[in-house]
Symmetry: D2
Subunit: 366 residues, 4 copies
């Protein structure tokens, strides 16, 4: 199956392994007439880059995006935009210590069983490195959304128990810390917590929140391609994500209808008195902010001794050496933002055929 593609109208097809020659993405369905340069893409990729703080691997991936097709004179032509990143660190390291081991919390065992073979170099395609391709797609989708006036903000909401609990405490101008956490005070506490975990050769999880502003009313389809359904798939398709919630999310399980319904009024425009729904009713955008959160698990690669088996079914104890991010959350922020942009744009395009008057607007010149 076309498993490595996402989106029906604006479609990314990603390829590449952690330690192969290169990785990349083919972006199909990019409308013609968009100004697009490698810099547009690079600025997104740089937000994902490791090596920016002590909480991410010092390995300098570089990650230089090269546009191979689909633009002419820095303008998209309507043809597929192919973008590649050459892997710099593909020299033949010695993988003998992990080649035959199933690391706990990793996909080593499931890949081997599914395919009967496995590219064990750095996790192969199950590596978080695969998300670089998604971020390239997200950079293009975001640029298109921006031209339509739509804006996406993603940030770290919590690390372990250290959370920004009140939305009033979200200060987007305080995001420039190693955690991409928009509250300097909570960020400091969270960093202390990470430091402590690092001393114990352990790792931590957290929550990323995403807010999308200025989405027109009407985006999302009634039955299966609900805006929240497609966002949920997009998010759970990111390796370390284990949960998704829209608006009040799991909080609704304890709410009553009288708390949870968003009442409406009108004052030079439709007004909602609250946004428990997270900007989606019946799978369709209400025009309010679209709000969702994802739960991200602790990095599975840890230095502590773990019990596991090898490919010969022998039991062993392993310590995963080498430097690994003690926390995935900060680098996942731009991945969540990218997948959100792709999902939203894809459904915006779907919506363009929802009404006869839209067809007439395009084809009858009225």
């Amino acid at each position: 199956m076309r498993n490595n593609s996402f989106g029906d109208n604006f479609t990314i097809t990603t390829w590449g392994e952690s330690h192969g020659k290169a990785l990349g993405v083919v972006i199909d369905g990019v409308p013609a007439g968009l100004n697009l340069t490698e810099d547009d893409i690079q600025s997104f990729l740089d937000r994902r880059r490791p090596g920016k703080s002590k909480y991410s691997t010092p390995r300098n991936e570089g990650d230089k995006a090269i546009i191979l097709s689909g633009t002419f004179d820095d303008t998209t032509t309507g043809c597929p935009v192919s973008v590649m990143i050459e892997n710099e660190n593909q020299k033949s390291r010695d993988y003998s210590n992990i080649a035959n081991v199933y690391r706990p919390g990793h996909a080593d065992f499931t890949y081997e069983e599914k395919f009967g073979t496995r590219d064990y170099r750095g996790g192969g395609r199950s590596s978080g490195r695969e998300t670089a391709s998604r971020v390239i797609g997200g950079a293009v989708a975001s640029k298109i959304l921006n031209e339509l006036g739509i804006e996406i903000n993603c940030y770290t909401k919590s690390i372990g128990k250290y959370a920004i609990t009140d939305s009033k405490d979200i200060h987007l101008d305080e995001m420039d810390n190693p955690l991409n956490m928009p509250n300097d005070m909570v960020a400091v506490q969270a960093m202390d917590y990470i430091d402590e975990c690092m001393k114990n050769n352990d790792s931590v999880g957290g929550v990323v929140e995403c807010v999308i502003r200025n989405t027109p009313v009407g985006v999302g389809e009634p039955a299966f391609n609900k805006l929240d359904a497609n966002l949920a798939k997009a998010m759970l398709s990111i390796g370390a994500v284990k949960g998704f919630e829209m608006g009040d999310g799991f909080g609704v399980a304890r709410a009553r209808g009288s708390d949870n319904n968003d009442e409406m009024s009108y004052d030079r425009g439709v007004l909602f008195h609250s946004n428990h729904s997270g900007g989606v009713l019946g799978g369709i955008s209400t025009g309010q902010d679209i709000v969702f959160r994802v739960a991200i698990k602790p990095t599975p690669s840890i230095g502590r001794t773990q019990h596991t088996i090898d490919t010969y079914n022998d039991e062993i104890d392993i310590n995963i050496t080498g430097r690994h991010d003690p926390v995935i959350v900060p680098r996942a922020v731009v991945v969540v933002e990218s997948m959100a942009a792709i999902t939203l744009l894809d459904l915006l395009m779907d919506n363009m055929t929802s009404r006869m008057d839209y067809l007439k607007k395009i084809y009858n010149g009225s």
Copy 2:
């Protein structure tokens, strides 16, 4: 877009509005040679039927499934299985009180804005009644999975704050209560709580949990069609669902890697010491139980006075009269189970082309 279809290999296409002539589903991709009768489907539909307790609408929907195509001598032929339910209650009720009103928590406003028109009778296609079509598809998918030895159990885990918190307290033989909650003691508490809410013309939410046993290792695809990603989409595509979590779910945000990784050993088979992952690593089934939960919001239709606007943008106060379920959760159980079955079967089929030796097994007779 093919929005009303779900699944790439085993595909349901649903149609029908709450108060139209009929509703139904076309199930494409049913393998030939499956014994299938209307009784197989009816037994699933009956689990969804309202009117079974004081917590569901007394309206007797009947919901008699008729197989229109795709079987011959009670055996599937490989052609699409079309199943229809005729609506009995479609007599022209007076809808004038809701025809022009946007009910809070409902999709009235978003449908009207998206399509420029709306079938306001009983919510039209945004009604929970649409899920009957999914349950028909789920009945067929479940029957196929059962023939492969796979078993799915779904149940109410919590209503408001009344929850079965320890998996040891799940007693599947105690599920025969109006809440489909597998613990009689908690169920009694939850029913008292619902009774109290009903007195206040209010509604409540809850959580449904699903456990799938005996899934082979290797089901789910690496990148976008991860087993958990497709389950997340399937679940959020159900109208009232606001959250999804796999295994430990949002709990991982507070966990450490050393807690969260599932260690392995071997004793006449691969063993995991825990199941924090919920049976999925890298999007692929591990062979452990697949475990996930969904959060379901309180019924939006409540008798209490709510403020809203009408289609002329005038503000009004409404009380939604008529009987409505004070809680959606118990009836959602079989819908969650159905969508899980369809999702899993679809990916089981995908996996059949993942290895050269599978192709040879089918085509070279070896």
Copy 3:
């Protein structure tokens, strides 16, 4: 796979066997705001109906279309339009003579081998009766195209060697003959030929031509969803079609470039001096008439003695009794027209996201 669906944006999903309870179609992606009644559909279906002349089976199928969902007050709502035809002639005839026989030229053998089972009543799903569902979809697609000013004409171009060879001899006002052949003189010759074949218990083939006027420039996608590629698939998916050609078609194999290129000039609009291309260049509509032809084989059911085998691999001679159309071509005309309408509309919708300024036209109100 979703084999019983056609179209990515405007999608028909067909179901039903020749002698099952009913057959029908779910049409997904119908834009909201289209006026649509059962009469719109019935008028298309009536063009396909048998029993209108001595060249079609006297069986009166009736074929009364019932709209089950997707419209409200005779206007489409954007939800799937489900249409059903109940089979009147499903009484348990005696099929023992064909139940175990592989009729030459029919799909009996291939269905049995593929699925291990077969609905042998009247050919099951391989029956030409399946095309009724397509015609319903075509009626809806055509109505939408008409609102955009696009017009489709299909007709019988040849029966056996009796052909309308010059396009000047196409007289659309002379189509009201049993062959749907727009030239009374050729039609008379062709009917004489059919009469002679009928006397010999034999059947004949022919060619259907289709001309589409007023398609905007730009419909069709560059690589795989070329307008001609999608038309070719649409046509070959009709049971009896064995060939497809666009514009000059197979004639190009003997042409030279200087003959085959269509030169251009300008006079208050772009002008082409000829239309060898059939209105498509690089898979994209040129704005000229879209012209293609399909070859339709002789009815495989003939009264003459034929040698074949049964399901036990025993050789036998059979005579197919009962009345069968001696020629499929006239009834195929509306099927070709329907599939052409669906294909064209589907690509018209695709094209709506091809340019940034189209997105802005819909979403920025400009």
Copy 4:
């Protein structure tokens, strides 16, 4: 839309323009465990390479295929296989003479109108060079088919009026001529004809035939994904193809049922007395040879003076200078073969879920 992808299970996504930095393909759905090297791909690409005779452009494209992902130790891993060809001849030539001109028979006009912009360097994505990506996909598909015992032969059947009319005159051991025409005598006549056309600055068309042996019975789906329907789409999606016919093709229009039906008998296996159907009944393979033909138009780029317009709607006369192949047919042979292989493999995979016993064969180990 995902226009640049073909195939549902085995999917190629092609990208790249004639004179961009590179072009390539992502092949998704390659089963794990296939031995695959760059040599496997190169041998296919070399068959398409220009510069091999005086009938193809002397430009040495090189076309060195580089596998960027999806294999490990020369074995496929089940992850997407990305293959790239770097363009060597992308130096900034002077295109001013064609940048603003709509060449007759080319897609210049339609691209410009559709997208509002155009990469005019060498035709951009509408160039025949795009087919190199398809040939890469075809090399992989063919290798898989070969492992299942299936064999594909494609060849030039006619150039202009010089045709191999009798299948007995097909000598596959005589194909090593510049025309890939398996009959030396006809090939010599055809070459004389081409020489004469070249002197007149003109070009010629022809027909390619394809024969596939050893396909199992049962491949192809009943309704829309008929084997012949998908082949038709695959073929018409190749730029210069204007017609497709299966088996007797357009010949059936003049045949009678008694000629056209293939009678059957049995002798240690099912036997057909003839193959008018081309190996497909009801869209499903019969086990006989699959036979089809495509019509290919004369190269549109010719040196003769042609009348056309430019992008300012001014009329001009042009002579297309530079060397162009006087005939596309010989180089199209491997493209037809490649698209046939991809189409067939895709449907072989679809067929793997058509029967309950196939599912049990994979999942129950029986």
